[in-house]
Symmetry: C2
Subunit: 191 residues, 2 copies
């Protein structure tokens, strides 16, 4: 009896192909047909899982967010709020091949959302969740003299900006990590 | 006698057309022909000024940087280091239509540089200059307990990230300005 098709796995396979294309050439000119070719499947198969490119991009974005969360949870163990925050943010930054691919898809999604506001809602929700998590950790650490919401917003923006700078080759990896650590020292006190 | 053609003015006119296209649909699918149509000139005229789209994008990026600098210098008057920094960074953020257009072109350029490293060098140089300016102001303000280079890198990344979040509709303008002001308070002390 043939193995039941794992639809989620299939979708992930296609989203991974989309990520490779995002890294190699950006996503604006990419069609479902290109994704089919990259994944080595038929265009019909892609269309079975995603009716439009927007649907596939939204799925890929969600997949990236889930993977980042899963990796940072796996790395966490019992940890201080500062360690939890640092662990999560290091999983976001494009510091290895996996994370570079993920950042390419996020950047392509952001650039697309900037000209197509209707697809920005998933992004907005995911960013709001991350900000809430960061603010909770700052509160738990009892960081004095800070507005946790503002500080969390600034920290997330800083990491988004570092990711953008790394991906567009403006900045070196070790400098980006050092800038993140300097910010964590400002917010949580010296390590 | 006909007025001598102002070549720089012509280039700016074309770069402005490119910026409008960037805001409306992104830049990846845009050709010199689209820019000619948007500017209301012939494709030949565009080709006279720019041989390639990369050349035009690089010019447009430089133009945006010059305009940001000119606006923040005009706004400066005699000012404290903190006011100089805030003035510059507010000129960078997409807080009105002009700056939104500029941010669209910068974001399109960044997304392009992420998949075409050879055009990233202007960007890298411009970012390095901005970081140096910010570090100089932090030093001039005598901010205690900070590494000015790291703090400047973090501040620029934070503003890049806020710009990205504003443009992709993740975040409200007043929250972005509040997050910037919270960071300035961390770096320079309470206002």
């Amino acid at each position: 009896m043939p193995r039941k098709v794992d639809h989620h796995e299939r979708r992930e396979l296609l989203a991974d192909a989309l990520m490779r294309l995002a890294a190699a050439r950006g996503l604006e000119g990419v069609s479902l047909r290109h994704v089919a070719a990259e994944a080595g499947v038929s265009t019909g198969m892609v269309q079975h899982y995603f009716r439009t490119k927007d649907e596939m991009m939204t799925f890929a974005l969600g997949m990236v967010m889930d993977r980042i969360r899963a990796r940072s949870t796996a790395a966490a163990a019992p940890a201080t709020p500062r360690e939890l925050v640092r662990g999560l943010l290091l999983q976001v930054l494009p510091l290895d091949e996996t994370r570079r691919l993920e950042n390419h898809v996020v950047l392509a999604f952001l650039a697309y959302a900037a000209v197509k506001p209707s697809i920005a809602s998933d992004l907005r929700e995911s960013a709001a969740q991350t900000r809430t998590f960061l603010a909770d950790q700052l509160r738990a650490a009892g960081a004095a003299g800070l507005d946790p919401e503002r500080a969390a917003a600034g920290l997330l923006a800083l990491v988004d900006g570092l990711g953008l700078q790394l991906l567009s080759l403006q900045y070196a990896e070790e400098d980006a990590v050092a800038a993140l650590d300097a910010q964590l020292a400002l917010l949580f006190g010296p390590a």
